[in-house]
Symmetry: C3
Subunit: 484 residues, 3 copies
């Protein structure tokens, strides 16, 4: 995966003694199981990366400008990182959050704050990713600390100045075959079009349709947003029918630009139909500002059902990422904006919430519904049983807080016995940090290899089967599920 | 357990090279723990099977006809199997679901569909059971696949034609000591009586009292059902008092035919008393079709409490299997009937729901209440604390989706530290597929041996104690808890 | 930890062959991981005990009388023990529950009942603690059973008669540096003052402020309690303002006596502000007996928020132990009182419930909020994300039913990947049984060592880092979090 031009090779681990970039990292400790896991991992280590969902900006690759600096690359925009620094007593302001590009001195200062506070990250996935990126992408062979912060900063800066560390060069070196972005329905997808039209860039960068804010009629700015949607789509969104038509047109626009999926993240996944008349009435009330909160919720649930219907029609995969209380700390939200580390999960429920959708479309041949959760209790109780019956339902990879070694293994242990492997959607990195993409995929390959190795060692699966499974998880499932 | 006349012996594992019927299957991979686990397992491997709860039809043994064919034996009636085939894109119709006996050609076709799709079952308990049954009961030594499907089909057909593969012969070969069935309160239990009266059959086949539909007054057909109940019991069920008397009589009838338990599966386990007057009024309203949905639920909760009271009186063990949304996919339910793979669990709650019951009867010397769940969160939070105080409460074995290797180990890890082993009810196979009974019990013995071996290896239990525990789990607990 | 004067040394394990007091007990079975775990454990084994929360009576140490007898020491007052005996069919009355000091004959009888029923405790933490205490504190080298009960009883009695087994001697031998008790706001803390003033006692015994009953206005006796609170504080508690002032005064009194924390255990942790006028009105209605149940709950939620505000002002750490249904079995509660083994957990929720508190005070530099739960589902879903952002939030150690080997490892696995180690509060024994304190702390050190060893073996943490972490968990975190 990282064996591109100019990359430090992953097998030359002896070059990183202080960082414990051990070739067997994340594999099970028991020697007999580890030997099997190593064989499985080696069979998929160098397969291309397929990334059907993430948050990298297509403009990054279209413009292909050098990455600015280590703070911007590893700290400031990454709420996984700033979160735990904030908990450790570092003010978000001192990390440059919400302030755009930082002067070089301040960037170095921000980087130092991370390095000094690295002990707070011990045992977290963030720390694993960070060290892996530094070692494998930038050739750093020292553990970040107050003492090493400046030297590492300088080394990364030196790398970033090289053409081989520009986004497109890394894209190629990382072995990325497909990368999906996440985009607003009103986006003109110019960056995607530019990349597709550029003969010097051979990767696939696809948009994904993320219409959340157009479904949340109680939020400030909704009326203006749907008005703009109407303009962009060339449809009057003054009626619910117009809203539907505008959505359909923009989905078609996205599909023409290569999109294969939509993504939805609301407080819950309830899908409850309104009659055509009710939908129209509530929609207009919402536009007029006279809808009650309950009506707004009802409208969103109806709209989500409508989106599933559209997926049956146009074949776009429907991803659901529900049940997070966004912007939990109001004062931080006000000062620093969203995605600043205080989105906190709540209980999720799928069985009853999705029933109206699944009764209508659950066996539709065109529907593929990929379900994500931050509530692990739903893995064995709801998600695996649903994916184990409905041909449309796939289990998304462990997401966000759960995209970490032990959580990933809990996910596999919780769902496999009911739903097997084929009902899961393969690894999805959901990454914002571009350089974390290869290490996240590598982590996933290691963990799935370890999980399968245990099944082999316990004589629950033959090793030839495990080889087929791990390869299918890495490239087969995402290609099938996301139509790539 | 399988060492009966004519059976392939379980120790001759070298005869099944392609199937990995390894003698250490399901035991922990760590060699030191495995050695202990093996010793524990060997000490219980050949103990008789006690099956206090399942769904085998007593008529199967009374009639003792040959099993029809591999599709009927392994696929069509087994919603564990058809479920995942359906998710993999095979229509239920193409599996013969809901269509009675299949012509030989079609049966072979159904069997092929399973074999071709076996990769979808990798890592599931179903696949483990299937291979184990084929290997251990039918001597099949190849992994099912498109290529081997026909040969395996023919081999199983050839077996089924032999007298040694008729139900009673298998019953004996499997080493079944007691088998409980699940029966409607109106059932005349003729098959049970015939078996009991037959001097050539020495096994015990006992009925269990499953009155669910008589408690669900909002369901279609309830009024007719309770009318029929009245007829069978010789009591007028036009009043609630009559309903109670009819239930009591039928329970006594079941007890005279050997029953030691009742089984209840409703949306929840809430038990809330009505006054005598309210109960009577709501019951009559339900009969008249004028009860509200809320009243019907209230009536069911009162009736469940009444059932607990009856258990105190007549000593029948009360099993509760709550919190599954049955028939989640309406169109499939309409076309193929219930138990066709789309029952999906929901959250369960026991602490508050059972409080009225436990405050009344929780310390009654005659009550034994066995609690099952598909919501793993209740294991450590509610079920173990309840069973750790109330002498009447026992923890049922991991059920349905949770009757699988990793889930079983999670169950033991979740409950043992609070409730120990004696508050669990021993293994319960809940099987519909007759030939899966021995492999399910064998799986349970292996898993409990592995769990105990870890405690021994971690010096949390001495090995002599572990031997006592594993033996108690296999035969001691079920005999004590179910009065067998 | 146990290497005090006259104590059987912990390393002389060969002296306890029948008890399997193995030096590697509770460490992971895999030999490679165990070697690392042993090194980590040995580095913290002898560190002093810091106990920031528990239920030992300060008078025990102030009076320094000999412990009465084995039943009083190990059985009667310990609901962890009587609970499972009760479930096993032993009446609470036959264990002396609720009856004060027992005559010697009856005490011996109670002790025998425990020994006879020890198999019911196999695999539980209670059994581990019991055997550890007997072996390490009293030098007992036989497994308790019907056969050994009398001899062990006599051996413990003989020990208890010795001055070296009086509370203060054990306190010193156990290596306790700080011990916090749990006290009513009206307590005069005379015992604490006496200990502090006694030059012959060098340990620190600190009170903690537990005001639960003054917040539960719907409970019988509340009005009298707040009246008494007013008297003790010298403030008229006839108004809500008076209640607040009284609380503030008593907190200050506690702080002057060394308290560093408060503790709160209610049905939930909801914190919802009332206006000053509403609070006053509802409070007066509650005093007048005319508040509705909903108003009482609203008042409690407002009061809890007020308590958080006070913590910001006076710096007392706020502990929350929510979501247990206390006294689940009414008849037992009536006959034997509270804390008799039938407190049963229910679902917990933190994300929404604590939001009002955290929006107000979550980033206040003076607030430290330690959250405990009996609902494991909240570990990864809510608690780790909260502690991973809010600098005020710390994760309490696994509590009560979850303070057991497998549950502790599940806790670490569930929270570490999101919140690391520094956001956890270190071990908290919550002990009522004085002699269980050292074995509980020792258990925690073993388990954390084992958890860290696995991370090292999987190359997720370097061993030098693991050494820093385990030491920080044992003494660093509790000192920092509880200001000790």
């Amino acid at each position: 995966m990282l064996s591109g031009v100019g990359a430090p090779t992953m097998t030359a681990m002896s070059a990183f003694p202080g960082m414990a970039r051990h070739p067997d990292r994340l594999l099970p400790a028991e020697p007999g199981v580890r030997v099997i896991a190593r064989r499985l991992y080696e069979s998929v280590r160098d397969l291309p990366i397929i990334s059907p969902h993430g948050h990298v900006d297509a403009g990054l690759l279209a413009d292909n400008l050098p990455f600015p600096d280590p703070a911007a690359l590893f700290v400031t925009p990454d709420h996984y990182v700033t979160r735990l620094l904030h908990a450790s007593g570092v003010a978000l302001d001192d990390l440059g959050v919400g302030r755009g590009p930082l002067p070089r001195d301040e960037s170095r200062q921000v980087w130092r704050r991370l390095c000094e506070n690295l002990p707070a990250f011990r045992g977290t996935a963030v720390r694993y990713w960070l060290e892996s990126e530094l070692a494998e992408v930038f050739g750093v062979d020292e553990r970040p600390s107050a003492k090493t912060a400046d030297a590492i900063y300088d080394q990364v800066v030196a790398c970033l100045a090289m053409d081989t560390f520009r986004p497109r060069a890394l894209f190629e070196r990382f072995g990325i075959e497909v990368l999906a972005t996440t985009d607003d329905p009103c986006d003109d997808l110019a960056a995607h079009a530019a990349l597709a039209a550029d003969p010097s860039f051979t990767g696939r960068v696809l948009p994904a349709f993320r219409p959340d804010r157009y479904l949340e009629s109680a939020r400030p700015g909704w009326a203006a947003a749907v008005a703009r949607l109407g303009e962009v789509a060339g449809v009057d969104t003054g009626s619910y029918r117009g809203w539907v038509a505008a959505m359909e047109r923009r989905r078609a626009y996205f599909a023409r630009h290569g999109a294969t999926s939509t993504d939805h993240s609301h407080d819950d996944v309830s899908t409850e139909p309104l009659t055509a008349g009710e939908a129209e009435r509530v929609y207009r009330a919402a536009l007029a500002g006279s809808a009650t909160p309950a009506q707004s919720v009802a409208l969103r649930r109806h709209m989500l059902l409508e989106m599933a219907r559209m997926s049956c029609d146009d074949g776009l995969v429907m991803m659901l990422h529900p049940s997070v209380r966004r912007g939990h700390h109001g004062p931080t939200l006000a000062a620093f904006g969203p995605d600043t580390g205080h989105d906190i999960p709540v209980r999720a429920e799928f069985t009853d919430a999705l029933r109206p959708l699944l009764e209508r479309f659950g066996t539709h041949p065109n529907l593929r519904l990929v379900l994500f959760t931050l509530d692990e209790t739903t893995f064995s109780r709801e998600l695996a049983p649903l994916a184990g019956f409905y041909p449309s339902v796939y289990l998304g990879a462990p997401w966000w807080f759960l995209d970490a070694p032990d959580a990933v293994l809990r996910f596999r242990a919780a769902v496999t016995e009911t739903a097997g492997f084929t009902r899961t959607a393969g690894f999805i990195d959901d990454a914002r940090a571009f350089c974390s993409i290869p290490v996240r995929h590598d982590m996933s390959r290691r963990l799935d290899s370890g999980f399968l190795a245990r099944l082999v060692a316990e004589h629950r699966l033959d090793e030839d089967e495990a080889h087929e499974v791990v390869s299918d998880l890495v490239t087969g499932r995402p290609r099938v599920v996301f139509g790539l």
